[in-house]
Symmetry: C2
Subunit: 355 residues, 2 copies
């Protein structure tokens, strides 16, 4: 079935309200989650309600949380998420970070005592739309990525996002798991009973695993970007460590390698996010910067493709294309997900709108 | 043959002086270049003299260059390299950036009108050794990396470096080309007549090329990290674009996609570098940050390995290991390189010390 973006957003908000989230927090969270559905990032939209419901029931995330700025300097903001989902504290931090960066030139933002914050690209796109350069990282609860030469997982899919404003073009927005494939992609293959390509997952002997169900559940681990040592998987592994240093070590939270990571403290997953906001005119006028970003984007899109049906895109393009299509045609939700969301709604007494 | 670090450094300095570099610039440049040899980064040490000599003769880099701070704010420094090699302006910018970040919390540093600056990790390690978090990027002259789905190269090996200070451990220093393999690795294989693994290079049809000579010279291009679309080469490609935005678009220089990139303006390669320096105590005490970085490093090194002879390392470890070995045993220089360096020395009338 296909539904409109506004129905998805309303459905999310109704459920969050029944869970005990305040009106304003539910509105912000539903806005960000449904934006992921609109942009084709199905792993980070309404489908996450099923995961959040489980975490809520297991008392890993709180709903009615105090979110507040814990400390600030002219170039930094620290937000405490109060043990709830990461959307509201991240938006608070990013918006304050934009204000500060516009004044001083740069601002680092950290959010501690938080949980899942959705798609990292939402925040960096927001920064770019305000005319600034953005970076975003977060720690993640699921330990499933294996370091290069390792026989056991020690890291997560630890995403990295970077954005830059353009003038003629939509902003450049890179939003990537530092693993070869995002966990959600493997989960989707498992749901469909499809295999995964060589290189996405390995077993404890370092052999590739193509059974998606196994890779997503037991006996296999995700590879860091690069997939194997000969293809420089140490780089994806290194990027994942960088993401953990920026996310967790800077502001203090559950270290991904720690015993019981993200499940240790009742009432919080103790996850952390990091953002960097930087003016684009620190070294020359903003218009010159944006004009060069435009030229770079145009030049890359003009690359002669191997196959005419696979043009060369630029980071952010797939999301813009999905947004145009889905705004017009609606957003497809698979029957399995509809059924699970019906249960989530019933469990909290929310109206079910996906009919 | 094996020679000591100090002989390599002296040899580099003697040649740079004959090329017309000032005493102080030659000393700094030789220090950084020979540090690469000491740390096992053979592609960025004394071997670069052969490349620099060619660029010097072709009037692409100047030797006796004015290097100066062009502008600054409390959170930024812009250095003009005067068309010479990038070592001296980068050191000036990074050291000023460290001073500023210690004062204000963060500093962005750009170097314009520059050329090759050596190993990016030298600068981020320096930042980490001063107790701060560092990032470094640079634009590169050689257009040889193909965007995902592209049939022609549009990018370079565009490196990314990130560092963080620890307490018990050496700093975490990630220094990586955003291509699957660095150009120097393929050059070395070509020199030895060895093939390269599937995934390092492709032809215009997107088929893997294993002939190193061809991959390094004609008809084949380097792949972005990820190697192919199914293994998320769009991520390596996206990282390369990010590196160009930070390096070139921010401070203005030769855009990697521009006609005649890095050869357009007589007397300069017009390359640019970017650095970010950030205090580690913006959100909590520096000692707590460093203790968590130490724990993370220790936990990762303790990962059960697939093979006991390939332990799990952390970014920066290979360079520390090489430094310990080479400080003790000397640095091996292959006969082919010795012969070429002899020519370089003879051409400018420098004494030849590698005998």
């Amino acid at each position: 079935m296909k539904v409109s973006h506004s129905i998805i957003k309303t459905q999310i908000r109704e459920i969050l309200l029944r869970w005990g989230m305040t009106e304003i927090h539910a509105e912000t969270t539903a806005t960000l989650m449904s934006d992921a559905d609109l942009r084709g990032i199905d792993s980070h939209g309404i489908s996450m309600l099923t995961v959040y419901d489980e975490r809520r029931i297991n008392f890993l995330t709180l709903q009615d949380t105090p979110v507040a700025i814990a400390s600030e300097t002219p170039v930094s903001v620290l937000v405490d998420g109060g043990g709830g989902l990461g959307y509201v504290p991240s938006m608070l931090g990013v918006d304050r970070g934009i204000e500060k960066a516009l004044e001083t030139g740069m601002c680092a933002v950290a959010v501690r005592n938080s949980a899942h914050f959705g798609a990292a690209g939402y925040y960096t796109r927001r920064i770019a739309e305000a005319g600034l350069i953005g970076m975003a990282t977060t720690s993640c609860p699921r330990v499933q990525v294996v370091p290069t030469h390792g026989a056991e997982p020690k890291l997560s899919t630890d995403p990295w996002s970077f954005s830059a404003p353009a003038q003629r073009n939509a902003p450049f927005v890179l939003d990537m798991a530092t693993s070869t494939a995002a966990g959600g992609k493997i989960r989707n293959r498992a749901t469909e009973g499809l295999p995964i390509p060589d290189g996405w997952a390995v077993d404890a002997q370092g052999e590739f695993v193509t059974d998606a169900e196994r890779a997503f559940t037991i006996g296999a681990f995700l590879t860091p970007l690069g997939a194997k040592p000969e293809l420089s998987s140490h780089k994806g592994y290194g990027l994942a460590v960088m993401v953990n240093i920026l996310s967790t070590c800077l502001s203090g939270g559950s270290l991904v390698t720690s015993e019981g990571h993200a499940r240790r403290i009742p009432g919080t997953q103790d996850l952390n996010h990091f953002f960097l906001v930087m003016r684009s005119d620190l070294f020359r006028p903003a218009a010159e910067f944006a004009a060069d970003v435009d030229t770079l984007i145009d030049d890359l899109r003009a690359t002669r493709p191997i196959h005419p049906d696979h043009p060369v895109l630029v980071a952010g393009d797939p999301e813009e294309i999905a947004k145009a299509e889905r705004s017009r045609d609606g957003i497809a939700i698979a029957p399995g997900l509809v059924a699970r969301l019906r249960e989530v709604a019933a469990r909290c007494g929310a109206p079910f709108l996906l009919i």
